[in-house]
Every structure is written in C-alpha cells, then in structure tokens.
Symmetry: C2
Subunit: 332 residues, 2 copies
C-alpha cells in the first residue's frame, strides 16, 4: 500500500462541502486508503483534517457554472487541480461531488482520453436490491450519440462491470422501446444492427434490446444508451424511488400503532433502504479518460465519499484504465 498513490479528493464540490467531504476523506484514510485533499487551504484549515496532505487551489467551480468555460478559465480551481494531480503522477485517481459537467471537462482536458475512445461516458450502478447492480451508461456525458459510440460504451461498460463487480462475461443490453431488434428510434435501430453484426467485438456479450422495466432486475448487467435517455432514466428512477420511499415512510409513521409495527419491520426494511441509498455505490465512474475519475452525487455525505474513495482505490488496483484500453482496441 505504501506505493499506492493517494486519491485526490475535491473537498470544495457538492452540497455538503467541505465539512462532509473532509470527514469522508478522513474515514477513507482511516480505512487504509491514502488520500490528498484539494481545495482552498484557508477553508480547509477550519476543519480537523487529521493532518491529511493538501493540494492548494484558490478557486471553486460552482454547481451552476458553465462547465467548459469554468474549466478553461479557472485553472487554479480544485477540480482542475485534482485532475492535474492524476496527470502529474501525484494521485492515482480523483473524485468530486461538485459540478458534473466541470468534473468531466477537467478529466478530459487534464488526463486526456484513452487512445481510440471517441467520447468518455458516465457509468452509473443502478441498485438491484438483493443482486448485483445494473451498470447504466451513458448516464449523461453525451446528449447526442452515434451507434459507434454505443458500441464503445458496451466495450467500456463490460470492462467496468468485470473490474468492479466481478462479472466475468456481463450481459449487455441496448435500451429501446421493444425487445425485438427492429424496435426503437433511428439510433437504437442502427446500434442494434451494428451489435448484431458483431461490430462491438468478441469481448462484448450482447443479448439484445432491453426495455426500461428490465433495468432494475437481475436479468441484465450492463445497459447502454445515449446520454440524454440515460440521464432521464437515472433521474426518473431517483425521483420515483424517493417519492415511493417517502410514501412508505409516511405510512410507517401514520399513527402510534403504525410506528410500533414499523419497529418490528425495520430489520427487514433497512437492507432495502441501504441498497437504494445513492451513497452505497459512492458515485458514477467516468469511463474512457486516461485515469480514474469518480463523479459523486451532489448530495454526497461522508459515507458516500468514503465509498467513492474505496471504489477509486479498487478501480486503480484492478487497472480499469488498462482494461478499457484493451477492450476498446480489441473491439475496433
């Protein structure tokens, strides 16, 4: 572990920055993961960092800043400095709960793309309580996609599902509006044809079209789609689950009798709540950049940051970047 480079953590990004982010970083360090904090030294000094190393950055990219412009003009921002730390061999990976677009742009501009990758994609694990999650990509990096991009998403998603969840030969589905090959919009139809021709290469185990209802089931491992549809799916599920969970909670606390009954059910309901908690998986991975970049949820708390740091460490140790490089060059 002594040779393992630290994970660079942008402590300025996210709804709970910097307090919860620093807390999460400390917890990660305590669990054996070397970390380096990136942010404004004078703000970090207000918190007990437990002596963690700091890379200073004087600027902060806000959640609603224009990503491209912010990354180009705020060269001393915590996000840009975190990505540079990876590029310069001072960190093994970086993570941020800040502006998603700026996180992607920092990763792309500072770490660069893996050779052969057309466009990096965001891969998000969708929880399937009681089972391994389903990897959804692209979850929002590319609003417009070509069939060729979807083929690469399948290659990268396969490498990721194997490295992260140990699925030897992940089943890859193409998101569409019918299981039959001919169903969908033009992109889905063209992509389906390309997959059926075997254009994704022998490394991709394409099982055909899948529908929205298949995502939260154990029947599929990787679901590929364009970043517009993927992002809509992700947020629809997030919203739906939150609303449903809120209603169940309302029912469980609707009367003194209900509250008593709920206590009995808590041990059975807790694993479900945990599995659906966004902090469980620590965040999404940006696949296709020449370095590990984790995009944590804006609402990340210390636990989410701890989990994200673990994922970063695991993905560096599993050489995810090398696996994606091999998958993309083999498939082309």
């Amino acid at each position: 572990m002594a040779l393992f480079l630290p994970v660079a953590i942008d402590v300025m990004g996210g709804d709970n920055a910097p307090g919860q982010i620093i807390d999460g970083a400390r917890q990660a360090f305590a669990s054996g993961i070397p970390v380096v904090l990136v942010g404004r030294p004078e703000e970090i000094a207000n918190f007990d960092t437990g002596g963690l190393p700091v890379i200073g950055a004087s600027e902060v990219i806000a959640m609603d800043d224009d990503p491209g412009k912010a990354v180009r003009t705020m060269k001393d921002s915590s996000l840009v400095r975190a990505a540079e730390a990876v590029r310069d061999g001072k960190a093994s990976a970086f993570l941020s709960a800040g502006n998603t677009g700026a996180t992607m742009a920092s990763a792309l501009l500072r770490m660069g793309r893996i050779k052969g990758v057309q466009r990096p994609a965001i891969a998000t694990p969708i929880p399937v309580p009681g089972h391994l999650p389903t990897v959804l990509l692209d979850a929002g990096a590319n609003a417009e996609c070509t069939p060729e991009m979807l083929l690469q998403f399948a290659q990268m998603g396969t490498a990721y599902a194997r490295a992260r969840f140990g699925i030897e030969r992940p089943r890859v589905g193409l998101l569409s509006i019918g299981e039959e090959d001919g169903k969908g919009n033009q992109l889905a139809k063209d992509a389906n044809e390309a997959f059926r021709r075997g254009d994704a290469g022998p490394g991709v185990n394409f099982v055909g079209n899948v529908e929205g209802r298949d995502i939260m089931t154990p029947n599929i491992d990787v679901v590929v789609t364009d970043g517009f549809t993927g992002n809509v799916v992700l947020k629809t599920l997030e919203g739906g689950m939150k609303f449903f969970a809120g209603k169940v909670f309302e029912a469980l606390t609707s009367s003194p009798e209900a509250k008593e009954a709920a206590k009995v059910l808590l041990p059975a309901l807790m694993p479900l709540a945990e599995a659906l908690d966004p902090s469980t998986y620590g965040g999404a991975l940006l696949l296709g950049t020449d370095g590990v970049c984790i995009i944590s949820h804006g609402s990340s708390n210390a636990t989410a940051i701890l989990n994200a740091a673990k994922v970063a460490r695991d993905m560096v140790e599993a050489d995810l970047v090398g696996a994606i490089r091999a998958a993309v060059s083999e498939g082309s």
Copy 2:
C-alpha cells in the same frame, strides 16, 4: 344517458382476454355506461355477457403481430371493427388492451386524425399518490419527433389534463437533462426555444424544462417528450415501482412477527398500492385522432377495463376531441 352511444370494447385483446375483459364490460354496463363487445361471437358465447350487444369480428390481432401489416390485412379483426364502430357512429369511443401499435394504427386509419394534428400521441397518467397524476406524452406512439410535434403534444396534453383532471391551466414541462433552457439533446434544445418563443400558443402554460425526478411530484401537470424517451420513462418507472413494491412486500412477510405488524400497516399502505396500480387510471389515451381511443395495459383485469370505460365515457362527455381540435387550431 339514453342518447349516449356505447363504448366499443375489444374483448379479444390483452393477456386476460376475453374473460376479464367481458367481466369489466359487464361491470361498466352495471355502472351505467352503455357498452358493445367486439370480437369472435363463438368465443364470446362461452362467457356470460349478461346480454350485452356484440359486434362480430372473425380475426384477432396478436400482441406480437406487426401493427401496420396486421391492420391493413386483417380487416375483420376486433381492433379494426372497434375503431370502425366509432367512425360509423355506432360507438362513441373504443378501447383495447391488445397490441398497442395495432390499436393506434386502427384508430388512425379508421377514425382519422383531427385536422391540423401532425401525429397522434399516447398520453399516460403517471400516478403521484396523494395528488393528481402527471400526464406524460408521448409515451410511445412516435419514436422520432420534431420540435413542432412536441408543441402540439403540449397543446393536446393541456386539453386532456383539463378535460380529465379538471386542471384549468396545467403546467407544461419539457423533459430534458437540466432545468436550464440550453440543456438537452438537439430536439430538447430546439423545442425549448420554440416554447420560449411562444410557438405553442397562448393556451399552453409552459413552465420550462423538467427532469426525470420531477415527473412523480406534484410540481408539474403535463410532461412532453418524444415517444422513445417517454416510453423508456414509463417502463422504467413501471419496472422500478414493481421491483420496489415487491421488496417491501417481501419485508412485510419476512417473518411471523413482520406479518402481524404488516396487518397494522395495511390501512396506511393500501392507498399507496392502489394509487400505483396501473388499473387505477384505466389506461392511456391516444390524443389527436378524431374519436376517443383508450389503450389499456396488456395486463388489464376487469377493474382496469371498468375504469377505462369510465374514462372513455367521461372523455366523450367532456368533448375531448373538440377541445383538442380547438387547442391545435388556436395554437397554430
């Protein structure tokens, strides 16, 4: 009520046809809605129809038949005959739980489009327990859309939300991947610009972009999107809710103690289960055809058919077709 033309019910379509469909039709009639059954007389004769009138049709379009081809070639199918009954003034509306594509094609080819409507759209109420549902359209009729089509969906969705749920000035949102106007794929960006220019006309209360997480909230009344994205959203929610509900049910029955506790919670949980039950809203409406057409879920039971018949009756009485005609011509 004597002057009200019957609702034509395709008793051959759906997973539970014809038994549950006929049951539902009987219940509808018992509740004061005149109905006419459409299907194979020899099969209908095996069930107790309570003497309901029958329009004979010798063919049945299967769930997996190619919609266009089936409707063109199977002229004596129950779906085509049901749509013809509306065209010929023998029925006021028709409904089917069968092949969705063929239902749309029958409606379009036999009843025709309302003048000025580019493409009919499927409008599906998304349950928001404790509140009025959110109307989502297009939920799957048009995999490829233009900005102009989305403007019309907004006009038609507005007329529908008013006629069906009594919302005087429904808030219309454009589904995208960010609330800011510039966010989204090309279609969403172009549509947003057209909405902002006021191209949808004064009748549409456009409130801006909405995200997936907004759909199941009381914050929006009508959400417009292309039929690919809409169908993915619908099935994603359906799958997610089903999976979540199944897991909650597992927890409630995980032990004898849990089962006892669950009994106490049942009164509080039942309204939620009912609100999320697809049969509650009876199905989706095809908007833009010159007659009321209800697309019920393939899994419809008798209750779903009863509710669908009620919706059909209500939409005829509210002159939904006239309201859409006015909305589309006013907006253009």
